[in-house]
Amino acid sequence: MAKKVLLVDDSTTTLMMEEMILKQRTNYECVTAKDGLDAISRAVVEAPDLVLMDVVMPRMNGFEACKRMRMEASLSGIPIILVTSRGEEEYVETGFQSGCNDYITKPINGPELVTLLHSYLGE
């Protein structure tokens, strides 16, 4: 069965790009959510194998969504990769404190994204 990736971003541009890369270069199934709150409910229903989530979003940001997912028993073990526009140490540290497994910086680089997802989900 194909591994499932939940893509979370309020930008339709980013979702479109991420989906296109993953559909063409991996065998993963993609589902999407438009903010942190939506991501939590989608994750409960879809049970993804990995979450790739933006940080800055309306209603609930990626840090908060990450924390809440870690508190939810059914979601606590899912790898979460945060997508951030800032690579500064302090910002990255906040991400890890919220419970994320990894982070990737914008603008997303195709090979970097695919390699990172392969390292969690296999090819």
Binding site: D9, T13, T14, S85, K106, P107, I108
Partner: protein
């Protein structure tokens, strides 16, 4: 023993190519599917931030005499510092008003405009083949070394498809 490095390199190049195509495709679709002027301006912000790598962007509208450009919309910059650009004081703008984008070279410390803020790209927005505005990309993210080949392709999309954000009465 034969090395698998060439195969790995080829695979990486192929993924890079798909990634670049995905960015250009997403930029074009986002602009073409913008529902109104506000959404089209938001599309410019999204493309700059998510696909190119800057959260400092402005759109300047060209006046009828093509002597001045007035700040029309901006995100992430101080609008009071950039309310008007005079073409006679900004040599790079002449080239842009001929329809050609201008990019700052990676190795160059030169800014494209006479402003303290670093400018990395000047992109003409074409309507019926004529520049009606210029998109200015200011400071890139600190981890981004400079404008890359794929960014130039995305800027070409902005040049050809962003007219709707500035001249909303033009048909798609």
């Amino acid at each position: 023993m034969m090395s698998d490095l060439p195969a790995k390199h080829e695979k990486r190049t192929s993924v890079q190519s798909v990634g670049d195509q995905a960015k250009v495709y997403a930029a074009r679709m986002r602009l073409q599917n913008a529902i109104d002027q506000a959404d089209a301006l938001d599309a410019i912000r999204e493309i700059a931030g998510n696909l190119i790598g800057t959260e400092e962007v402005a759109v300047f509208k060209v006046d009828k005499q093509r002597s001045e450009l007035w700040l029309y919309w901006s995100f992430g910059i101080d609008p009071n510092k950039h309310s008007v650009l005079e073409v006679r004081r900004e040599p790079k703008l002449k080239q842009v008003l001929n329809g050609k984008p201008v990019f700052r070279l990676r190795s160059s410390a030169e800014s494209l405009l006479s402003t303290d803020d670093p400018v990395n790209a000047l992109i003409p927005v074409l309507v019926d083949g004529n520049p009606c505005a210029v998109i200015v990309l200011f400071r890139l993210f600190p981890h981004k070394a400079g404008i890359e080949p794929v960014d130039r392709e995305i800027c070409e999309v902005l040049s050809n498809c962003a007219g709707r954000a500035i001249e909303p009465h033009h048909a798609r």
